[in-house]
């Protein structure tokens, strides 16, 4: 079985539900465009989500077919993205990360400032910050895509596109070109890619 690259997106329940899902979906769709095998789904156990309760969305990318596709969680994420940056203070968002990992936060603070909140930095290779709300002041609150239903508000039109762009730059999991072709707001994705601040550890 080939290696599956795991991406976990954390967010606040309900208010960031859609944007977080969009990050996972856009990265997966971009990888699919590059011929990769992919999965993208919500954490089933977090649902039904409640306002501001931490929720997780997952993308999984692989060069070969994904053999065990019925997992409930990404157990060893390589890329962790926080739509809600304050979760870094209270939740062990790096759990299961095995090293050479990337952490990307939606914040106007600097990577150095955020690092203070991470007690064990060993699994991290890079930490990156991007102020998604400043770049694209639009966070879509919509429930149509939850519970396995079909997204009706357009994918990647708000801050999710910025964060996906930043993730593409930091991790190289997809190219910015393929990402831009899969998001509703390609310009936001490009600015996320260009404007993210990265610190190598």
């Amino acid at each position: 079985m080939g290696k599956v690259q795991e991406i976990t997106v954390w967010a606040s329940g309900v208010v960031q539900d859609k944007e977080a899902r969009d990050v996972a979906q856009c990265l997966a769709a971009a990888a699919a465009k590059e011929g990769k095998f992919i999965q993208a789904f919500d954490n089933y156990v977090d649902l039904p989500d409640r306002v501001n309760v931490p929720v997780r969305k997952y993308a999984r990318i692989s060069d070969s077919e994904i053999e065990e596709k019925y997992l409930y969680e990404n157990h060893n994420p390589e890329i962790v993205i926080l739509v809600e940056p304050t979760l870094v203070k209270g939740v062990d968002v790096l759990q299961g990360m095995k090293g050479d990992g990337c952490l990307i936060l939606n914040t106007g603070r600097s990577p150095e400032e955020i690092l203070k909140f991470i007690p064990d930095k060993t699994p991290l290779k890079k930490i990156a910050c991007v102020d998604a709300m400043k770049i694209c002041p639009k966070a879509v609150i919509d429930f149509s895509g939850s519970e396995g239903a079909v997204e009706a508000a357009g994918v990647g039109v708000g801050i999710g596109a910025v964060l996906a762009g930043a993730a593409a730059k930091v991790s190289g999991c997809v190219t910015i070109d393929s990402l831009m072709s899969e998001v509703g707001n390609p310009e936001a994705a490009k600015r996320g890619f260009d404007e993210v601040t990265i610190k190598e550890l």
Binding site: M1, A29, A32, Q39, A40, F41, D42, Y44, V45, L47, P48, E65, E67, E68, K69, Y70, L71, Y72, F143, S144, S146, E147, G148, A149, V150, A152
Partner: protein, 395 residues
């Protein structure tokens, strides 16, 4: 030409229901099937789908409304999961006895206790004796296709039976996959409008489901039995036509994988067939001749097909994602049916069942390795050491 979409099993179901142009939809929320009603209600609200959408006050009412709508000649769609399925249990026999071809999606969920969203097939299998056509889909694509196939079979005047269109909750209902969406003209060619034989109609009054005397009972039950048996050739016809029109050819009842030279097979229904296929590829690299037999219809149960298929192997491992406490052989619901099917065959394989995926736990590649190892031992020794293994609890 159709289009390709990345859809969950629920998204695939809703798309197929829309293309089947259903008339009445009845809903009541319960995870994991709820998403399908979220999508369908939006379609009705947007004007994409011209249907009555009725939100009931519970599953019993939900199914009762479906019964009435179907009896009046409407193409009807409903659905549920887990304890929602069992709450409506009383309605299933009247619906099939009234020969109303309601289609009900069951996205499996474990029955209580305790509360658990994970997929286990006991919710649906518990209703297997109620005169409904029943089967499982493995992928969102198969979900889409089965939705159309089930309507076609159930509404056929030779059959006229309701259908449980089942797939695993979360694994299939919530994890998206590629789905080819055909042209509407293809769907229209495959699935003609529903023409009820004897609908309730004020202009032409008649009664359904009256109180009867006991001596009228046997004939009615025999008719329902005959309808279920008549579904066999109708399913074959529908699958043939489906392949011709949509270009996807399914085996009607039993899909085999790497069985040509197999000595051992996994017998399975539903989502876990996906993992089983990869397990088989790896096991074969290690020289173990194992294959897969995936059953697509549980009702009607394809006895003849299974006799022909399974008698070719030395050992069969029935993977049971369900439980029936105290059943014959002491395991799940499928193994006794498999054993029963093969009793009349002189050349029988040895059969053991493997309880796995209960509570919605995924069945892993390692667990399929365990099953293969046990089957190998059974085939070599020529006897089963015990009829049932509980995956994860055994050495």
């Amino acid at each position: 030409m159709g289009t390709k979409k990345f859809l969950t099993g629920l998204g695939a179901t809703a798309t197929a229901v829309k293309m089947a142009d259903v008339d009445v939809i009845t809903s009541f929320p319960i995870r994991p099937y709820t998403g399908v009603m979220m999508i369908l209600s939006q379609m009705v609200a947007n004007g994409e789908l011209d249907a009555e959408f009725i939100h009931a006050d519970g599953e019993h009412a939900q199914l009762s409304i479906s019964h009435g709508a179907s009896a009046a000649g409407a193409r009807t769609f409903t659905g549920s999961s887990g304890v929602g399925v069992t709450y409506a249990f009383e309605t299933y026999s009247p619906i099939s006895g009234g020969r109303c071809p309601v289609q009900m999606l069951i996205a499996d969920r474990t029955l209580d206790p305790p509360g658990d969203f994970g997929s286990e097939h006991t919710d649906a299998l518990g209703c297997r004796d109620q005169g409904w056509i029943m089967g499982w889909a493995e992928t969102p694509q198969e979900v889409f296709d089965n939705t159309l196939i089930y309507y076609r079979v159930g509404e056929d005047p030779r059959v006229r039976l309701p259908q449980f269109n089942c797939h695993d909750g979360y694994f299939v209902s919530h994890i998206p996959g590629d789905v080819e969406i055909p042209e509407q003209s293809q769907v229209d060619e495959f699935l003609p409008p529903y023409r009820p034989v004897d609908p309730l109609d004020p202009q032409n009054p008649l009664g359904h489901g009256p109180q009867i005397f006991p001596d009228q009972g046997p004939a009615l039950e025999a008719m329902r039995h005959n309808a279920m048996m008549a579904a066999m050739p109708v399913i074959e016809e529908a699958i043939d036509d489906f392949g011709r029109i949509f270009g996807r050819k399914y085996a009607p009842f039993v899909e085999e994988f790497m069985t040509d030279d197999a000595e051992l097979v996994f017998f399975i229904n539903g989502a876990h067939a996906h993992t089983a296929r990869y397990a088989i590829k790896h096991l074969r690299e290690r020289g173990i001749k194992v294959g897969l037999v995936k059953i697509r219809f549980i009702r009607p149960w394809p006895t003849d097909v299974l006799q022909e298929s399974l008698s070719r192997f030395k050992a069969v491992g029935v993977v049971e994602t369900n439980s029936s406490f105290g059943i014959a052989r002491g395991g799940g619901i499928l193994a006794p049916e498999v054993c029963g099917s093969l009793y009349d065959v002189p050349q029988r394989p040895l059969i053991a069942s493997f309880m796995g995926g209960l509570g919605g736990e995924p069945i892993t590649l390692k667990e399929f390795d365990f099953i293969a190892e046990k089957l190998k031992k059974i085939a070599e020794s020529g006897k089963i050491e015990k009829p049932v293994y509980w995956l994860g609890f055994e050495e």
